[in-house]
């Protein structure tokens, strides 16, 4: 099943996120276990698949990886990033995160990482459009790296709020 087709979206990196969210709700209206009708019971589509597909298309690096997999190009995406300059910058961001000790510092770091993600997204679109697969793969890895940093920023802020004890 092609996730883009499921959500009535063109198979491209730049998608309409509000259309995605809207289509998500109408798909769940039809296929959620609470809404089971005779027709949906025999369907191949289930609620859990819709949830996975939604997550895959919504999160930029997952969407990029999925597009590569549709082109049979999602090879070795978990390998390390080849771009030495990027790695230098990434290391710096990591250090900044380790040193951040106020919510304000985290917020500015968050904005910085978000800008990284935006410019990497533009880069991926170009790589993907020109079918430069090795470059596209490397950009996809960078996107995933930056998203993990965003998650770590949130986790650090959780600790600031003293929520890190045994849940």
């Amino acid at each position: 099943m092609n996730f883009f087709a499921l959500f009535d979206l063109p198979e491209s990196f730049d998608i309409d996120l509000s259309a995605l969210a809207q289509r998500y709700r109408s798909l769940q209206r039809e296929y959620h276990p609470d809404q089971q009708t005779a027709a949906s019971a025999v369907s191949q589509i289930d609620s859990a698949t819709i949830n996975i597909a939604y997550d895959t298309l919504r999160v930029v690096d997952k969407r990029a990886a999925y597009l590569l997999s549709l082109k049979q190009q999602a090879i070795a995406l978990d390998q390390s990033i080849g771009d030495i300059d990027f790695l230098g910058n990434a290391l710096e961001v990591r250090e900044q995160l380790d040193e951040a000790n106020t919510p304000e510092m985290l917020d500015s770091l968050r904005q910085e990482v978000q800008q990284w993600i935006e410019s990497l997204s533009r880069e991926f679109e170009l790589d993907y459009g020109s079918e430069d697969w090795p470059e596209a793969r490397d950009t996809c890895r960078k996107l995933a790296f930056m998203r993990r940093i965003l998650d770590d920023i949130d986790a650090t802020e959780d600790r600031f709020d003293d929520l890190d004890e045994f849940y």
Binding site: R25, R29, Q35, S47, D154, E157, D161, L163, D164
Partner: protein
């Protein structure tokens, strides 16, 4: 139009057969049941008109345990049980929800109960009636609500939606489900409390598309906050968070601690502790209406002002706000995006709580629906829909509150399903063998947010056996984790090269103790045992009565005979034994009956022997042989 909906109770509303379904709010301090009647969600009241059932069960015994006639067990639920809390603290179980699905080692607050169970097991309360697990106690509350509903609605229920705190973990949800089953309720859904409240509010709300709503749910024992996006009847939970041991009870405890130090109370008996807790609750409630209150304990008293109270509870309220912050972050929204904040749960009646929430979100929160009733009302709407009474209802898209992961090398956790993932969800993970010829593999499932195994909740370990021996890394084991719409987990594993399947349903490793599991099974047969006992008792009685009748006839005849066989002394002893047997026959004690029969037999055997001699003598004196041969 309303007239058309009037129908006799018990009468089917065919052609649209209305299926009776209820929503139940199984709360820490009180529980409620609601149902949709004539299209409107309605709280069902008891015969006294009360809607709130105190979540309290008292296990009492009366009479002497050795005396079948007087011995009785009495189990009371609700108000009468609550009234006995101070007088009988050990057998009156309050706030049992805080023990549901918890291990003994998790119970770190003051309580007057005697608990039994290993550190890693769900404890049982030791009561006058013996061991009672939190599941059984909750089942008593659910049974009471079930009969209230069946009496009011006039028929058997097809099922119930039971609400749980959104932040309940796997074990707590499972325990709630088990309690419902024990109470004979078919669970249509375990529904998260804030989501239920959102449904109740959704009914009379005009929403713009993408309406962002925060539900701040501060109850008797738990705190939850959920952020939802509402779109034309679709309730999409974006993120949820909370604390399962943070509620009104904890505020009461803060007051108790304060009073203890103010009045220099060092030690308290369980009864005193319950009395203090009760007064603390009353003081807290009074301070929602007035500026100060006098706290009395025994001969001492102390004044508690609202400002003092606010200062006492500030750390806890700050904690709820910190949780709100995190949940907002998880929802990828900012405070400015929030369209409405609704207040749920009794603790939101405290003015300081309302002010703190208003200040944090920068807008006046809503409490247009009674914060004590709103969860049950929402649950009843969901139950009505799930029972099939309406098609046009809301669609709820909820999330899993805690991350799910697996143990990896070095005691670390690999996250498989992050918190706030929409449910139902299925995730697959592939594993391989690390040794040549390895035929089994251990998978340890964990729930929680921390990096290390020790800091997460262990849900269970399971072993996948029968992997065909291959070189290390050749076997492909696919493990599937599935969280259903109730938020419950199941795990299955498959070796993909040969297709060996191993299905496992997660049973939390700190579930019931073996002792309680065994007792559950025994009690299932208890009624059969009781029947057997009654039958054997009846048989003993009939036999004893038949014997008494024969003996008394013989004695009467002996007395009327010219030459009595019994001496006066013998007759007196026999009469005495007869009286004793008659006395115990009135009671239902099989042992006592058997003892009295035995005592009587020693006396009557002598009499029987004398009679036999006498008969033989008469025969030898020339009576016809036939006379006695026929006897």
């Amino acid at each position: 139009m309303a007239l058309l909906q009037i129908a006799e109770p018990n009468q089917s509303t065919a052609p649209h057969q209305h299926r009776l379904a209820v929503g139940i709010d199984l709360g820490t301090t009180h529980s409620l049941v609601a149902s949709v009647r004539s299209g409107k969600p309605t709280i069902l009241v008891d015969e006294l008109g009360d809607s709130l059932l105190p979540s309290v069960v008292r296990y009492q015994i009366v009479g002497n345990q050795d005396d079948q006639d007087t011995f009785k067990t009495i189990t009371t639920v609700g108000k009468p049980a609550l009234a006995a809390a101070v007088e009988d603290p050990a057998n009156t179980l309050i706030s049992v929800k805080r023990f549901m699905g918890r291990a003994t080692s998790d119970i770190q607050f003051d309580h007057p109960y005697t608990l039994s169970g290993d550190a890693e097991e769900m404890p049982a309360f030791i009561t006058a009636q013996g061991r009672k697990t939190p599941i059984e106690v909750s089942a008593e509350i659910l049974k009471t609500l079930r009969s209230r509903a069946e009496a009011t609605l006039g028929g058997e229920l097809v099922g119930a939606v039971i609400t749980v705190p959104a932040y309940f973990d796997e074990a707590q949800r499972q325990a709630t489900r088990d309690a419902a089953q024990l109470a004979g309720l078919h669970v249509l859904r375990l529904l998260n409390e804030p989501t239920a409240a959102a449904i109740a509010y959704g009914l009379d709300q005009q929403q713009a598309p993408d309406h962002i709503q925060v539900v701040y749910d501060f109850g008797g024992g738990t705190f939850d906050v959920s952020i939802l996006r509402l779109n034309r009847g679709v309730y999409e939970v974006l993120a949820t968070g909370g604390h399962t041991a943070l509620g009104g009870d904890d505020l009461d405890r803060l007051i108790v601690d304060w009073v203890r130090s103010a009045l220099h109370i060092e030690q308290t008996t369980p009864a005193e502790l319950q009395a203090l807790m009760k007064s603390a609750r009353q003081a807290k409630e009074a301070l929602s209406r007035q500026d100060r209150t006098v706290f009395a304990f025994g001969t001492h008293s102390v004044t508690l002002t609202r400002d003092q109270f606010n200062a006492l509870i500030t750390p806890l309220i700050d904690r709820t706000l910190a949780i709100c912050k995190r949940v907002l972050r998880d929802s990828k929204h900012r405070i400015g995006d929030v369209n409405a904040v609704v207040l749920v749960g009794g603790s939101t009646r405290i003015p300081y709580v309302r002010d703190a929430v208003e200040q944090f979100f920068g807008q006046k929160p809503l409490w247009t629906i009674d914060p004590d009733l709103v969860v049950a009302l929402g649950a009843s709407l969901s139950a009505d829909q799930l029972a099939g009474n309406r098609q046009d209802g809301a669609l709820l898209l909820d999330v899993t509150p805690l991350s799910l992961g697996l143990e990896t090398m070095g005691g670390l956790v690999e996250r498989l399903i992050p918190r706030n993932s929409p449910i139902p969800i299925t995730r697959q993970q592939e594993f391989t063998t690390y040794k040549d010829g390895q035929t089994a593999m251990l998978i340890h499932v964990l729930q929680g947010e921390r990096e290390t195994v020790a800091h997460n909740r262990s849900l269970g370990r399971f072993e996948l056996r029968g992997i065909p021996p291959m070189v290390a890394g050749a076997a492909r084991i696919q493990v599937t984790f599935q969280i259903d719409v109730d938020g419950l987990l199941s795990v299955s594993a498959k070796e993909t090269t040969t297709g060996i399947q191993s299905e496992v349903t997660i049973k939390p490793s700190y579930g019931l103790s073996h002792e309680d599991t065994a007792r559950f099974l025994t009690e299932a047969y208890q009624h059969a045992e009781e029947d057997k006992h009654l039958r054997s008792l009846a048989e003993s009685k009939v036999e004893a009565e038949r014997e008494l009748l024969a003996l008394e006839q013989a004695m009467a005849q002996d007395l009327s005979d010219a030459e009595a066989l019994l001496t006066t002394d013998e007759r007196a002893r026999l009469t005495d034994a007869i009286q004793q047997l008659k006395a115990v026959l009135a009671a239902n004690d099989q042992n006592a009956i058997q003892t009295a029969v035995h005592a009587l037999k020693q006396e009557s055997d002598q009499f029987a022997a004398k009679r036999m001699d006498h008969h033989v003598h008469q025969v030898l004196q020339g009576t016809k042989l036939d006379d006695w041969a026929a006897k």
